[in-house]
């Protein structure tokens, strides 16, 4: 990997960390009667955020031709299953996956 490529990746990671910071609330204001749902929403938002970061990296590497066919398939399946699982857990807690996406979008 060349120095400019490394610098670009470092810059992108810094941007992702800045986004992650803005996702985290300054104070966690949990409703005592609904604590599980509140925590689930926060945790699922973070997991979905990380999943999106990994997906972008995977897509970039696929575009750049640095993943083998087998690696593309394995990473793709893992990310797809993770997305499905996040949706299932969100539904169990009565959360809408659009709300999670909106929280991430607002932090962009």
């Amino acid at each position: 990997m060349t120095a400019p490529e490394t610098a670009k990746i470092e810059l992108e990671l810094r941007e992702e960390i800045a986004r992650l910071r803005s996702l985290l609330p300054e104070r966690i204001d949990l409703d005592p009667d609904d604590i599980e749902r509140g925590l689930a929403g926060l945790v699922l938002t973070l997991v979905e955020f990380l999943r999106q970061v990994l997906e972008r990296q995977a897509i970039r590497r696929m575009e750049g031709g640095t993943l083998s066919d087998d690696e593309v398939e394995r990473v793709g399946v893992a990310l797809m299953r993770l997305e499905q699982k996040i949706g299932e857990i969100a539904a169990q807690f009565g959360l809408d996956q659009d709300d999670i996406q909106l929280r991430i979008g607002a932090a962009s």
């Binding site: 995977a58 575009e63 593309v72 398939e73 399946v77 797809m80 962009s108």
Partner: protein, 220 residues
């Protein structure tokens, strides 16, 4: 004490009939309202804050406070004001007589250029390729939104420091722009933006305001 706005010392009495408390410094004055410690704010409080600031702004130049700037009492607000009043006075002189317009360009297709598939991908590669297509679409939108923002800035023909924008802040929005203008510029700008809007096939332009300079004032 909930801070509402900062005004010039000569305008310190502007909030008297609005029920506001005045805390005076040498270079500026702060207008606030009593706020019980521990009180939880709701949407009506936010709207009330906006209404109060608009009432002040319609009478005198002011710096609006961000909603939620709460101080334990008048003394605490005064000591904070004294520490920052030179900065506030400078901002007030630069921004106070200007008002903010919010310009939103919404995608006519509501940000959905191609239907999102809800069918699970048939393979890991298909899943990533779907993501790749989405990513390319997003990049194209970003480039287009930047071009639209540049066009708007040209039409506004105002000092660059008085215009801020974000591209693609939400899927349905191409550009969200705030511009500081003088009151006598508003009609001309609105007409020019309307003309530009008619020439852009992919977005609808909505102009809101004039408001106090929320985006440009930092009185936290």
């Amino acid at each position: 004490m909930l801070l509402r706005a900062i005004v010039a010392p000569d305008d310190a009495t502007v909030g008297d009939d609005l029920g506001l408390t005045t805390v005076s410094g040498a270079a500026v004055a702060a207008l606030g309202s009593p706020w019980d410690k521990g009180r939880v704010a709701g949407e009506p409080d936010l709207l009330d804050h906006h209404r109060i600031i608009q009432s002040v702004f319609e009478r005198v130049p002011c710096l609006p406070a961000r909603f939620g700037s709460v101080f334990p009492d008048e003394d605490a607000l005064h000591s904070r004001l004294v520490k920052r009043e030179v900065d506030f006075a400078s901002q007030l002189a630069r921004l106070g007589h200007r008002c903010e317009l919010a310009i939103t360009c919404a995608w006519r297709d509501n940000g959905v250029s191609s239907p999102v598939s809800i069918v699970p991908a048939s393979s890991g590669r298909a899943y990533l390729e779907r993501g790749l297509q989405r990513s390319r679409g997003d990049r194209e939108r970003e480039v287009r939104a930047e071009a639209i923002a540049a066009r708007l800035r040209t039409e506004l023909a105002t000092e660059p420091a008085f215009v801020r924008h974000r591209t693609c802040p939400r899927p349905a929005v191409a550009v969200s722009m705030s511009a500081l203008v003088t009151r006598d510029e508003i009609n001309g700008i609105s007409s020019r933006l309307e003309r530009v809007g008619a020439q852009l096939p992919d977005v609808t332009i909505v102009v809101q305001g004039p408001w106090a300079p929320y985006t440009f004032a930092v009185s936290k």
